[in-house]
């Protein structure tokens, strides 16, 4: 144990519970157990979320028009979860349970009538609002679920490059870097050079998915949050999409995969956070889904029973 993490904790003016001495693999600590490749460089998680809640301020439903009172309707309640470097954490929950809102809340995006409270550490630093804003697109990148998120009137290449930063010469250098990076990513993901001149509606399903991933990777993030990256894709494309995310994690990045598909989550992820009723009820390694006795929460066991094969084993992770 070095002195470094303690110094960091002091600088961030609050001591996170997880800044305590390092824990052994498999040991349960703040609500979760580890998977084999969950790593703690510097004895902390890359992303740690504690007590995150989001509520919408709205008029009471059903009340008479002029007498309706404003009240807070909670959608996310006291969520805690952590993502380690080198792993894929799948957040699994039913459609419409607020998983996408969770992703937005973590990235500090709130609707005008939304109130968010909670604490977020990134790389051991407690972040305030400005810190989270700085993290967006630099350290944390988002992969949306569909091509509808791209500007229909802008060529794909320019959208992947994003907005250059800095002023004057620095800006020019950043523009050049972004063009270079975009071409490099296109080569890596087998996208033809002519694709950068296309408009979003001209992309095929497989191309669109890779373009969205390139958008996220252009800023060389350390954490990718992917929101339902597979619906609408056929099995082959879905597997390719997951393989790309897996590869990002295997190279040392971290992935938070949001999905309603438990089978898919078990196939690609290292750990699973079960999202139910607006909160994470259990955060555990994929291995725990081998048998219902290893799962602590009733809803997780329900998920286990919903699987087509009950003897689901770790072996089927070979999909990656």
């Amino acid at each position: 144990m070095s002195e470094e993490p303690r110094e960091k904790a002091i600088r961030s003016s609050a001591t996170a519970p997880h800044e305590a001495p390092p824990h052994r693999s498999g040991e349960a600590h703040h609500h979760h157990t580890h998977a084999a490749n969950s790593r703690h460089p510097g004895h902390h998680h890359l992303l740690q979320v504690e007590g995150l809640s989001a509520a919408f301020e709205m008029y009471a439903p059903g009340a008479p028009f002029f007498e309706a009172e404003r009240r807070l309707v909670p959608v996310i309640r006291d969520v805690s979860l952590g993502v380690h470097e080198g792993e894929v954490l799948a957040v699994v929950g039913a459609s419409g349970a607020g998983k996408s809102l969770l992703a937005e809340a973590i990235m500090g995006i709130a609707a005008p009538n939304e109130r968010i409270v909670g604490r977020i550490w990134f790389d051991g630093e407690l972040e305030d609002e400005a810190g989270i804003e700085r993290l967006r697109s630099r350290e944390i990148a988002f992969v949306p679920q569909s091509i509808a998120c791209l500007d229909p009137l802008m060529r794909v290449g320019e959208q992947v490059r994003g907005i250059p930063r800095g002023k004057g010469a620095a800006r020019k250098a950043d523009v050049a870097r972004r063009i270079e990076r975009q071409r490099e990513l296109f080569r890596r993901y087998r996208l033809d050079e002519s694709v950068e001149r296309l408009y979003p509606h001209e992309l095929s399903g497989g191309m669109a998915r890779r373009v969205l991933l390139c958008c996220a990777l252009v800023d060389e993030p350390r954490l990718i949050i992917a929101d339902e990256p597979t619906p609408g894709l056929d099995l082959q494309l879905a597997e390719a999409a997951l393989a790309d995310l897996r590869a990002f994690a295997d190279e040392g990045g971290a992935v938070m995969l949001i999905t309603h598909d438990i089978e898919l989550a078990l196939a690609v992820a290292d750990r699973v956070a079960v999202f139910h009723d607006g909160t994470v009820v259990e955060e555990t390694s994929v291995a725990s889904f081998a048998s219902p006795e290893l799962l602590r929460h009733p809803f997780s066991r329900e998920l286990w029973h919903a699987l087509p094969e009950h003897d689901f084993a770790v072996a089927s992770r070979s999909v990656r």
């Binding site: 937005e104 990235m107 995006i109 005008p112 804003e133 967006r136 697109s137 630099r138 990148a141 988002f142 949306p144 569909s146 509808a148 998120c149 791209l150 500007d151 229909p152 009137l153 802008m154 994003g162 907005i163 408009y199 509606h201 001209e202 095929s204 958008c215």
Partner: protein
């Protein structure tokens, strides 16, 4: 493209025939007796029976409608719009004289209300529900509730009568020969009617733009841009402007008719000698040839506006270009094959229905 233009030319011709026929029918149904209306009450009463019959023949009051309309249409084919009985000049000449001041007024009001409305709409939309939005929206609601002639009267009372900044009417100073009118004088006379029409036309495009900006900000594209760390104005310049400007431009092109309608009233209030004022004179005097001529010119102006919007959409929106190309491909032929890369056939066009709807709106 040739087919597209031919189709629209045919539509324009049909429009001219229908509009002029409706004008002839309406004038025929109108209770205004052209002879009585044009010679004056006292002269009419003291006039001899023979003189009256002669005048009636001159005005063509005795002829049945189909004959009159047929003659006018035949003349139109030779480029002759007939004689204006009120002005005692060929209709083409009356329209030509009055088109210049009217077009100046219309184009200033059109561009002015478009730009001002768009800028205000963007400002309101970006500040949704905050005080700039409330003020701009409130102002728009007030402006839509005010009739343009009333606004013209108020502007006249304040800026022409009380403050004396602008002349109270006409297109040039009284007593100046039309050849001697200076540009400065013309602009000075044009200013107040133009301001009035501009203000009256701001509200629709402003409210429409605001709605589109709010819609864009709440949409997936802006949401993703936010998540990529783009600030509000950054994402507006990068994505919002293009997506919002298109529908605003279409709306503004389609609103030429409304602005012309406003111009008729505003020209009356300011005694501004434009097409609008001529239309009122022609209508009240049963000068059917002049009225039909003005109606046709106006209809073509509005048609041209919509046609321009259609063309612009095709130039700016890549999805629209694609839809046209696909249509051509569906028709087959070498041209269709050339404009479509083979891989385009693999997938149906996304949003093709929406693009089609947008184009016809």
């Amino acid at each position: 493209m040739v087919r597209f233009i031919l189709k629209n030319l045919l539509k324009a011709c049909l429009l001219v025939v229908v509009v002029s026929f409706v004008v002839f029918c309406l004038v025929d149904l109108s209770p205004v007796d052209p002879v009585q209306a044009n010679v004056g009450q006292a002269a009419y009463l003291t006039m001899s029976e023979a003189k009256r019959a002669q005048l009636e023949a001159y005005w063509g009051a005795g002829e049945p409608l189909p004959v009159r309309y047929g003659r006018w249409l035949a003349g139109l084919l030779q480029g002759d719009l007939g004689m204006s009985l009120r002005y005692n000049e060929p209709v083409t000449q009356v329209i030509a004289e009055r088109a210049a001041p009217s077009l100046a007024l219309l184009s200033i009001a059109w561009a002015g209300s478009g730009i001002l409305g768009f800028v205000l709409g963007v400002g309101a939309g970006m500040a949704e529900r905050r005080w700039p939005d409330r003020i701009i929206r409130g102002w728009c609601f007030v402006m839509t509730s005010i009739p343009s002639f009333w606004l013209a009267l108020i502007l006249l009372m304040v800026f022409a009568v009380a403050l004396g900044w602008f002349p109270i009417g006409f297109a040039a100073s009284i007593g100046v020969a039309s050849a001697d009118v200076t540009w400065a004088d013309a602009i000075h006379h044009l200013a107040l009617p133009a301001i009035c029409l501009t203000l009256a036309g701001v509200a629709p495009v402003c409210l429409h733009t605001r709605e589109k900006v709010v819609e864009f900000e709440a949409g997936d594209v802006a949401g993703f841009a936010k998540l990529r760390g783009e600030g509000p104005w950054q994402r507006f310049w990068r994505h919002g402007l293009r997506n919002v400007a298109l529908p605003a431009l279409t709306l503004q092109c389609a609103s030429i008719g409304e602005i012309f309608g406003g111009a008729v009233l505003v020209e009356e209030v300011f005694s501004y000698p434009g097409l609008g004022q001529a239309a009122v004179t022609a209508g009240l005097g049963s000068d059917v040839c002049l009225l039909a001529g003005i109606a046709v010119v106006t209809a073509l102006l509005v048609f041209g506006g919509n046609f321009a919007a259609d063309l612009l959409y095709g130039v700016i929106d890549p999805r629209m270009r694609e839809a046209r190309a696909a249509k051509r491909a569906a028709r087959g032929g070498v041209l269709g094959w050339l404009v479509n890369r083979p891989e385009d056939y693999d997938e149906p066009l996304p949003d093709a229905g929406e693009v089609e709807r947008g184009g016809s709106a």
